[in-house]
């Protein structure tokens, strides 16, 4: 693998569009032929493994706690059913688009990636793996083997919001994922907020997360300071001003959706 160029393919949903009709003059390594790279399973009570060839449809069908609802919501928004049936979570990360649907929810889940290569296996936090648009920490001789997600606190819920100019098959203008927990008094005790398509790499808003602890959902206030780390661009989908303006609205809505879902599950105030 080190001695010659090899293209890695799994679902093919990024590989072929990028290839266009240019000829393929190198080898193609199909990860889907390696059974061990598939599946979604708890490898221990505290760690979920998503294999490198697990598709978005596999995510949707997996029995996972409410903390993963945001990831499932993102799975439903990846392209179309056709894309979800073929495209893999790991491929979405390796493709490293700033608008990758999977990244914000996986950031809020504190996902780690497992890489394997000639130098042996290694693990990286997802935020360290993604280096920039179309840039990752993957060495030329490495492949991604799996993602690992530590079990989130039992009481947290999650949500994902994607903003696009049409309903299906759309690249995000902005997107937001939240993982939220409330204590017995209804105050936020877990807050993980990630925003995609507003910086070269999707990112967690750690200042905001810190300020949310101890407040009730109705008291959530988002200030420009909380968004200072974002650096949206203007492109064909929207301008930078719009993106910065949409993000707080999306975060508010995602927090409320996550909490509504929690109260619905608990048979709370809707019951």
């Amino acid at each position: 693998m080190r001695s010659r160029r090899v293209a890695i393919v799994a679902g093919g949903t990024d590989f072929f569009p990028a290839q266009g009709r240019r000829p393929i003059h190198h080898d193609v390594l199909d990860l889907t032929r390696v059974t061990a790279l598939g599946g979604i399973a708890w490898t221990s009570p505290d760690s979920l493994r998503i294999g490198a060839t697990a598709t978005w449809t596999d995510v949707l069908r997996a029995d996972l706690p409410p903390a993963f609802d945001g990831l499932k919501a993102a799975a439903r928004e990846v392209g179309s059913v056709q894309i979800q049936n073929a495209g893999t979570v790991a491929g979405n990360l390796c493709n490293a688009s700033p608008a990758a649907d999977g990244v914000p929810p996986l950031l809020t889940l504190d996902a780690e990636v497992e890489l394997a290569g000639a130098e042996g296996p290694r693990r990286l936090a997802l935020s360290d793996f993604l280096k920039g648009p179309r840039q990752t920490a993957l060495h030329p001789d490495e492949i991604m083997v799996a993602l690992h997600i530590p079990r989130p606190p039992d009481h947290v819920t999650s949500a994902f919001g994607k903003l696009g100019a049409r309903r299906y098959l759309v690249i995000s203008i902005t997107m937001t994922a939240v993982v939220i927990g409330l204590d017995a008094a209804g105050r936020i005790d877990v807050a993980r907020i990630a925003v995609g398509a507003c910086s070269p790499v999707a990112q967690r808003l750690t200042d905001l997360e810190r300020d949310l602890i101890g407040v009730t959902p109705s008291e959530v206030t988002i200030t420009p300071r909380h968004l200072a780390s974002l650096a949206p661009i203007s492109d064909v989908r929207a301008d930078d001003v719009y993106r910065l303006e949409a993000v707080p609205a999306q975060i508010h809505r995602a927090i409320h959706r996550a909490i509504l879902r929690a109260s619905f599950r608990a048979g709370g105030d809707h019951g």
């Binding site: 266009g20 193609v28 889907t32 179309s80 056709q82 100019a165 049409r166 301008d239």
Partner: protein, 915 residues
């Protein structure tokens, strides 16, 4: 060894049968299925997972075959439409339902839709609308507006009532050509070439404006295995110039020294299929020199701009002009005037079938199979380019996977023809999606300034319209846009004084050409948006203001043309009155309780002249009766999905007096079917329809005369004989004894119709069209104030079609047109060099089109066949302004720059709240 590893033979199950194949590394499953396994019901629309046309089931799961490495099929079950319809009960009931509900128009997306729907019904036998849109959200359709597809899936399994009777005009019979679209056997441009055909690849400019020089082409051909030839302008035996309007023909087949837009062709490579597959275009010997480009009209009109064509000073291609009375004086005297400046974007036709075809030499003649809207115009263009007489060229149109105006122009035709001539072998090519998007025509971007005045009673006094249209690097249909816009920019309203000018401006952009409406959808955005502002200023209800000013029979248009019958705009607008009132009241209730989502209702009217503007545009229809009693209709009006095969058959059958299913149909083929003109200008139902009516009547008269029977007699075609029943008497005409003509007909008729028009004078006064069709749309939307997103809730569309030849096809046209108008209004913006694919260039998906109620208005037209008027383009003219007016109603802000993306709406809302 450092060679590409070829994958060993793989085996899998294709439609229930074991198959073996030898894919190369990285081969797409779609390619393997189509080329190696001849499974051509798998359609390729984008090769990027953006359109879903190639959807197949792999182990029961829908996937895009264009995104699956072929070798992943090993050991699995692959199912495609052609297999499913013969063996799967869900597929069979879906196909019946698609037929009954008119869910297939051109048919190119139908395999993807049906296959996806089969997977849905296997999981969810009775899906609701949300489940249907989720399941079909990955398949794009550009024709139907999706609503009939949703209906067909929701109602699959319930037998729809079949229309009874003879299928004459007024009856919503299913399409006469539906079967092939629903079982995967329809053959489109890329489906007809023999397996051994050479493949052609065009080399195109990567720059908007560039010079170039070739290296040693002969040496490159020698050094590149499998390449047969390279074609350049030196290989053109005739003129290296084409254009749809002879006086403006200006486009080279191959650029000679300068490329004027990104995507312009400089050479074509012809080779064995494998060689073209393995071709690295980067190695082709051409050196580019990029030049400064003018991509906007402002840049092209600036004093230091490069002149694109020396004969067109200042980059002004041409202009159109209409003036009546004194607009400036009328505006000065008006009680209220409004003024606005509007811009619209390049809009891509985005048919799901990229241009494709194949050419071969047969008996010394060139035969070209191609998806086209205009076979005779294709032949005319090739005569010039190839230097061949018409008799040496035969055009055999394939099924057309959507056209909308762009497939009127030449695209693949000259390249294929030149390659077949040069090599003597069959040659095929299909444009890639990005090649199609960068090199074929677009809707003209417009920059419009308009002023409109009214008196104190709310009656229109005058209007002044100044529009410039980015016509790109070459003329194409730009002159038509420049001519049509001033005639139509008034809308269907009475203006005593009027002045309108439209200019086409050359830029280093792809050529703008014909796209459903020829510039009128753009001008309607300006005029209908300003009408709302005017009505508000006057304190008039917005709909009633339009009704008050609607053109009536006996009143002159802005061209001074007076129709004493058939003016249906008032009836269209009045048909919306009830919905307008109830939807406005409902919106008020919603908005009183709203937090962040505001509802709005908008209306807009429109009109469109059917047929060429003040120019002859005849159609001819021929029919024959064979000795065995079969009536054969030679129907040359290209059916690009809109339904002319069905409509023309219905008209002819009614005129002849036989059930429509009596007819056998021969399609367009320049050798055997007379010229029915181009499928454009909403002319086929009107113009070819009249030719069909005349031909049917002529054949009927001939038969009746043979037995001297009364005009009211019934004619029956039986085996080898015609029976004519004249009250009590029955006459029999034995056909077996009659002499056959050269085509095997014992009886025949051929008739031509050309609409009566008259030229316009220097002020645009005259009779540009024999008939107009009229339309009014109502749109209900909700706007998310924080995010600027627009959710269309409902449309009501009233269309005066004179007489609905086929009400189901009318609905199909209306729904499809609204979807295109919605796209133009809310999301579509082609940017050369940036949005050359269907994920950066967005068209509506199945989740974007709300329910559409179609109100058919029948204000008969004296010239139309059985009173019918054209419809194809009218259907999107009011859509964008109705949506913009609904957004304004919801938010108070007027969007003047299209498309109204969330970003643009929020910018206006910010401005509004700051003010």
């Amino acid at each position: 060894m450092d060679k590409q590893i070829s994958v060993d033979s793989i085996g899998f199950t294709l439609n229930g049968r074991a198959v073996e194949a030898q894919p190369v590394a990285g081969e797409r499953l779609s390619t393997l299925l189509r080329d190696a396994l001849d499974t051509r019901d798998v359609k390729v629309g984008c090769d990027a997972g953006d359109c879903g046309a190639c959807t197949v089931l792999v182990d029961g799961a829908p996937v895009c075959a264009c995104l699956m490495p072929a070798h992943q099929a090993a050991g699995r079950q692959v199912e495609t439409l052609a297999g499913l319809v013969t063996s799967d009960p869900d597929a069979a009931r879906l196909a019946r339902s698609f037929d009954a509900h008119g869910a297939a128009q051109c048919g190119i997306c139908t395999p993807g839709m049906l296959v996806s729907a089969v997977a849905l019904l296997r999981d969810t036998p009775q899906p609701d609308e949300a489940a249907i849109t989720n399941a079909l959200g990955g398949v794009l359709c550009r024709c139907t507006g999706y609503r009939k597809i949703i209906d067909a899936v929701a109602l699959a399994g319930t037998e729809a009532p079949q229309p009874e009777g003879d299928g004459h005009t007024g009856v919503p019979i299913p399409r006469v050509d539906a079967a092939a679209k629903l079982d995967g056997s329809e053959m489109f441009g890329d489906d007809v070439a023999p397996a051994e055909a050479l493949v052609l690849r065009v080399i195109r400019s990567p720059f908007h404006h560039a010079g170039f020089a070739f290296g040693d082409l002969d040496a490159w051909v020698q050094a590149t295995p499998g390449i047969e030839a390279v074609l350049t302008h030196r290989d053109i035996p005739g003129k290296n110039c084409f254009g749809v309007i002879p006086a403006f023909a200006d486009q080279p087949v191959f650029a000679e020294s300068i490329c004027r837009f990104r995507g312009e062709a400089v050479a074509a490579i012809v080779g064995q299929a494998d060689a073209i597959r393995d071709l690295d275009e980067a190695g082709f010997p051409v050196i580019w020199t990029e030049h400064r480009a003018a991509l906007t009209m402002a840049a092209a009109l600036s004093p230091d701009a490069v002149t694109l064509h020396q004969s067109r000073a200042g980059n002004v291609m041409c202009s159109g002009f209409v003036a009546r009375g004194d607009a400036e004086d009328a505006l000065a005297q008006s009680h209220v005037t409004v003024e606005g400046h509007f811009t619209t974007a390049f809009v891509e036709h985005a048919y799901i079938e990229p241009e494709a075809g194949f050419a071969e030499m047969r008996g010394g003649r060139l035969e070209l199979h191609v998806c086209t809207q205009a076979p005779i115009m294709n032949r005319d263009g090739l005569e010039e380019i190839l230097g061949l007489p018409a008799a040496a060229i035969r055009i055999l149109p394939t099924a057309v996977g959507g056209g909308f105006g762009s497939k009127l122009d030449l695209s693949v035709q000259p390249y294929l023809a030149l390659a077949a001539l040069k090599t003597g072998q069959p040659v095929r090519m299909a444009y890639s999606r990005s090649e199609s998007m960068m090199s074929t025509t677009k809707r003209h971007p417009a920059e419009i300034t308009m002023r409109i005045g009214a008196d104190a009673d709310g009656r229109l006094t005058g209007a002044a319209f100044d529009g410039r249209f980015n016509t790109g690097a070459y003329a194409s249909w730009g002159p038509t846009v420049a001519n049509r816009v001033p005639v139509h920019a008034s809308g269907p309203y009475l203006f005593p004084d009027y002045r309108a000018e439209a200019r086409g401006i050359h830029t280093h952009c792809p050529p703008s050409g014909a796209f459903r409406g020829f510039g009128v959808p753009q001008s309607a955005v300006a005029q209908e948006s300003l009408f709302d502002e005017l009505a508000d200023r006057l304190g008039h209800d917005r709909l009633e203001f339009r009704i008050l000013n609607a053109l009536e029979n006996g009143q002159p248009t802005v061209c001074g043309q007076v129709f004493d019958q058939g003016v249906g705009i008032r009836a269209c607008l009045e048909a919306l009155r009830e919905s307008w009132q109830t939807e406005r009241a409902a919106a008020a209730v919603v908005n009183a309780q709203a937090t962040g989502r505001m509802r709005g209702v908008g209306v807009a009217g429109g009109w469109y002249g059917c047929g060429n503007t003040s120019l002859p545009n005849p159609s001819t229809i021929k029919a024959g009766v064979r000795a065995d009693g079969q009536v054969v209709l030679h129907q040359g009006a290209m059916d690009i999905g809109q339904g002319s095969n069905t409509v023309i058959s219905q008209i002819f059958a009614q005129a002849l007096g036989v059930p429509v299913d009596t007819l056998a149909r021969i399609g367009a083929d320049t050798d055997v079917t007379p010229d029915a003109g181009k499928t454009s200008a909403s002319r086929q139902t009107f113009v070819t329809g009249n030719a069909a009516r005349l031909a049917g009547e002529a054949l009927r008269a001939q038969i009746l005369q043979m037995v001297n029977a009364a005009k009211t007699s019934e004619i029956h075609f039986g085996q080898g004989a015609i029976t004519v029943s004249d009250g009590a008497a029955a006459h029999r005409i034995d056909l077996a004894d009659m002499a056959e003509d050269g085509e095997g007909y014992v009886l025949g008729a051929q008739e031509t119709y050309d609409p009566p028009t008259r030229p316009m004078d220097e002020n645009g006064q005259g009779h540009p069209y024999a008939q107009f069709g009229y339309a009014a749309h109502l749109a209900v939307v909700e706007v998310d104030i924080a995010l600027g997103t627009v959710t269309p809730i409902r449309f009501v569309a009233a269309h005066d079609v004179g007489h609905a030849i086929n009400p189901a096809l009318v609905e199909g046209q209306v729904q499809g047109g609204i979807a295109q108008g919605l796209g133009m209004a809310l999301m579509e913006e082609y940017i050369p060099g940036r949005t050359e694919n269907l994920h950066d260039y967005l068209i509506p998906t199945i989740g974007d089109i709300p329910p559409i109620e179609t109100l058919i208005i029948e204000e008969p037209d004296a010239h139309g066949p059985f009173g019918a008027k054209g419809l194809g383009e009218h259907v999107l003219i009011p859509t964008a302004p109705a949506l913009l007016n609904a957004i304004r109603d919801a938010t108070g802000v007027q969007i003047t720059d299209l498309p109204a993306t969330p970003s643009r709406i929020r910018a206006k809302l910010r401005e509004h709240s700051d003010a």
